[in-house]
């Protein structure tokens, strides 16, 4: 029966170092491992973005030391155009897959989902362990592209065919590097599928007594909805990656059309379609955007409620909106392909649900804002980042209205407008969700408080810095500045170079501000003040246990849940809140039922 028991797997606390910290079956350790992986990945990704930004602003300047990373890509420290594209590919792939998916979903989800529903562990801890280690191997395979063959691929994180499919003839990294990329992403898909299976079964089957579906915190709902998306989205990317690998190693031509001429040479491939890759990729790719953002929505709601000491206007509408985002995310993917040469009629069909999807997103934001209105929000690092999330979500979302319409998108597509849009609404917003979760849950995860002053400093620098970086992107895009060019020095875009220099300086400074976060994280982990069980006076189950939680979460007991997740502002109670597992009878002011 082993790892397949019908309940939260019961296992004894491991004693050996390897079982405890490396090949651990404990969901909390696996959650921390995912978080750690994301932390390494995000700083690598950020360093790459520094290199790219520096190159864009000072194209002919040497970057000392870069030649050690790649003597071909940056001879004497001077970045070649190809190497710029290689770095861009790696930046996107690392950030989207190994940061925005692993940290808010797999990282926090693994740690807190079982605890928040009152379970001892996930039902299939071995799957869980495999999920992390497969993801880890995927990361190593991706990183190895830097050092194997002639470098990483240069086809971007979307790996558009035919560039991604034709092999080494298309440029450096398109041979070995692209195959490594595809293997890495295929492995990543398998890892996330295993994770999703665990998340869904934990949510449905392992809820403790009294934890009805409607009593689950919004974070649990967010992770549950996300894993439903992950279950089917990654299942489509997996065969797409395998077909791409076949195109490379087995001579097939799924994604290569007939009569393709590269470097004056006609390729022997025939019969494939480049659009097919885009369809398969974006069928995954759009749900992926929501896989990155929905956990952030859950975390931000959770943190805001705790800090404003009252529930949201409507728990159920919030859940419904997150579900609607997931549902609609399968119907809008073609808006990435408006200028791909796809059928214009499809463009219209995709445009409509794309505009519709802003309705649940807007309702989510309105619920936050009207719940915040008149509340006495406790200002701390976590709640500041939650507010920052809302700000990014709105700013990035508004530009989505423009891009959703094919007639406008034809002008704006493949310009910096799109880069600014998705960096704000997906990348930075999801990162703010990760920061929110980190400042909020760090005491629970490690048993130490984080430094609040440094946290607030980190917030303000990041918040202002993000706007300084990404707002000008929109103006650049409207001025016609195309994306994925490695230099703007000698063509019509030269007048925009000043803006690029400003952005680069802002990016370097904002990136430096992230070192404050890293310092805070490491320093607090070892020197931070010891954390009480419930530092934020929150109500959900993770705050009923010591910080950090013991191996079996609830000390062998099974908590019983009596209340909805967010019982704040309770009059007549000794505190202003009632924990979910408190048997206390209460009369709630805003009982939804």
């Amino acid at each position: 029966m082993h790892d397949m028991s019908a309940h939260a797997a019961q296992h004894h606390a491991p004693t050996s170092f390897i079982r405890k910290y490396i090949f651990s079956l404990d969901h909390k350790v696996i959650g921390k491992q995912y978080y750690g992986l994301a932390l390494i990945a995000v700083y690598i990704g950020m360093a790459i973005s520094w290199l790219m930004r520096f190159h864009l602003a000072w194209t002919n300047a040497r970057i000392p030391g870069l030649q050690w990373l790649s003597s071909v890509g940056a001879p004497g420290g001077l970045m070649t155009p190809e190497y710029y594209l290689e770095l861009m590919t790696m930046h996107g792939t690392i950030m989207v897959f190994f940061v925005l998916t692993t940290a808010p979903f797999a990282g926090f989800g693994n740690f807190f989902l079982p605890i928040q529903v009152g379970a001892e562990d996930m039902p299939f801890p071995r799957f869980n362990m495999m999920s992390f280690w497969i993801t880890f191997v995927a990361f190593c395979v991706l990183m190895s592209a830097f050092f194997v063959g002639d470098g990483p691929p240069l086809s971007g994180w979307t790996a558009y065919a035919p560039l991604s499919a034709v092999g080494a003839i298309a440029g450096p990294g398109q041979g070995t590097g692209q195959v490594l990329w595809a293997i890495s992403i295929a492995l990543f898909c398998v890892g996330q599928l295993l994770g999703s299976l665990n998340f869904i079964t934990t949510t449905l089957d392992l809820r403790t007594k009294g934890m009805t579906l409607m009593r689950m915190p919004l974070t649990v709902w967010a992770w549950f909805i996300t894993s439903c998306m992950g279950l089917t989205a990654f299942a489509v990317l997996l065969p797409a990656c395998i077909l791409l690998i076949l195109d490379h190693v087995a001579g097939t031509s799924f994604f290569i059309a007939s009569g393709l001429v590269i470097n004056d040479k006609m390729l022997p491939h025939s019969g494939g379609s480049t659009l097919l890759w885009q369809h398969l990729f974006w069928f995954f790719g759009h749900p992926e955007v929501y896989i990155a953002i929905v956990p952030g929505v859950g975390i931000v709601s959770h943190v805001l409620i705790t800090n404003m000491r009252r529930p949201l206007l409507s728990h159920k509408v919030m859940i419904g909106c997150m579900g609607a985002l997931a549902f609609l995310s399968y119907m809008v993917y073609g808006h990435h392909m408006f200028v791909s040469g796809m059928n214009p009629f499809s463009g219209l069909v995709f445009s409509f649900p794309t505009l519709v999807i802003t309705i649940p997103a807007t309702i989510i934001v309105l619920i936050w804002i009207f719940s915040l209105y008149g509340s006495k929000l406790r200002i701390n690092s976590a709640s500041l980042f939650a507010l920052g999330f809302i700000s990014m979500f709105v700013s990035g979302g508004v530009s989505g209205f423009f891009l959703a319409q094919p007639s406008l998108d034809i002008y704006l597509h493949a310009t910096y407008f799109v880069v600014g849009h998705f960096h704000m609404v997906m990348a930075v917003a999801a990162l703010f969700g990760i920061f929110t979760g980190t400042y909020f849950w760090f005491p629970k995860m490690t048993g130490h408080m984080m430094n609040e002053s440094l946290g607030k400093l980190h917030f303000w620098l990041t918040f202002v810095g993000t706007y300084a970086i990404f707002m000008p992107f929109h103006y650049l895009g409207m001025a016609g500045n195309v994306r994925r060019y490695q230099a703007f020095v000698d063509d019509y875009m030269q007048p925009l170079l000043g803006v690029h220099k400003f952005i680069t300086i802002a990016a370097l400074l904002t990136g430096a501000a992230q070192l404050i976060f890293l310092y805070n994280l490491i320093h607090s982990r070892f020197r931070g003040a010891p954390a009480p069980p419930n530092p934020w006076e929150a109500t959900s189950l993770e705050w009923t246990m010591p910080s950090p939680p013991p191996f079996d979460n609830f000390g062998g007991k099974h908590p019983v849940v009596y209340h909805d997740p967010y019982q704040y502002g309770i009059e007549g109670s000794s505190n202003d809140y009632v924990m979910q597992d408190s048997p206390e009878q209460i009369h709630t002011v805003r009982d939804e039922k």
Binding site: C228, S258, L275, H279, Y333, M342
Partner: protein, 104 residues
């Protein structure tokens, strides 16, 4: 809770088995009908869905699970499969519109 559940008799399994075999045989007959490709595809798809439906409901016993689970599986799966069908217009567009995309 599950072991005691009624899952019908062996006779019903046999009936479903024969029905699926008959439908499968019909597909082979259709393959030799003199009809155009679109017609043939439509008939094959309808029969395959009927076959698969019988298989899911009675071989995999989805019919004997709770209605909530049946709806969850059916809606989830069919929605995702339906959402994939967005790619067809482009397939036709390549056929009639773009040069060099087919083998000559």
């Amino acid at each position: 809770m599950n072991s005691t559940q009624d899952r019908g008799s062996l006779a019903r399994d046999l009936i479903v088995y024969v029905a699926i075999l008959v439908i499968a045989a019909l597909q082979f007959v259709i393959a030799y009908q003199h009809i155009d490709g679109a017609q043939m595809f439509a008939r094959m798809l309808a029969l395959a869905m009927l076959e698969a439906g019988l298989g899911v409901l009675f071989f995999m016993h989805l019919w004997m699970e709770t209605r909530g689970f049946l709806i969850f599986v059916a809606v989830f799966t069919l929605f995702v499969l339906a959402a994939m069908n967005y790619l067809w217009p482009d397939s036709f567009r390549i056929l009639v519109g773009a040069p060099f995309s087919s083998y000559h």
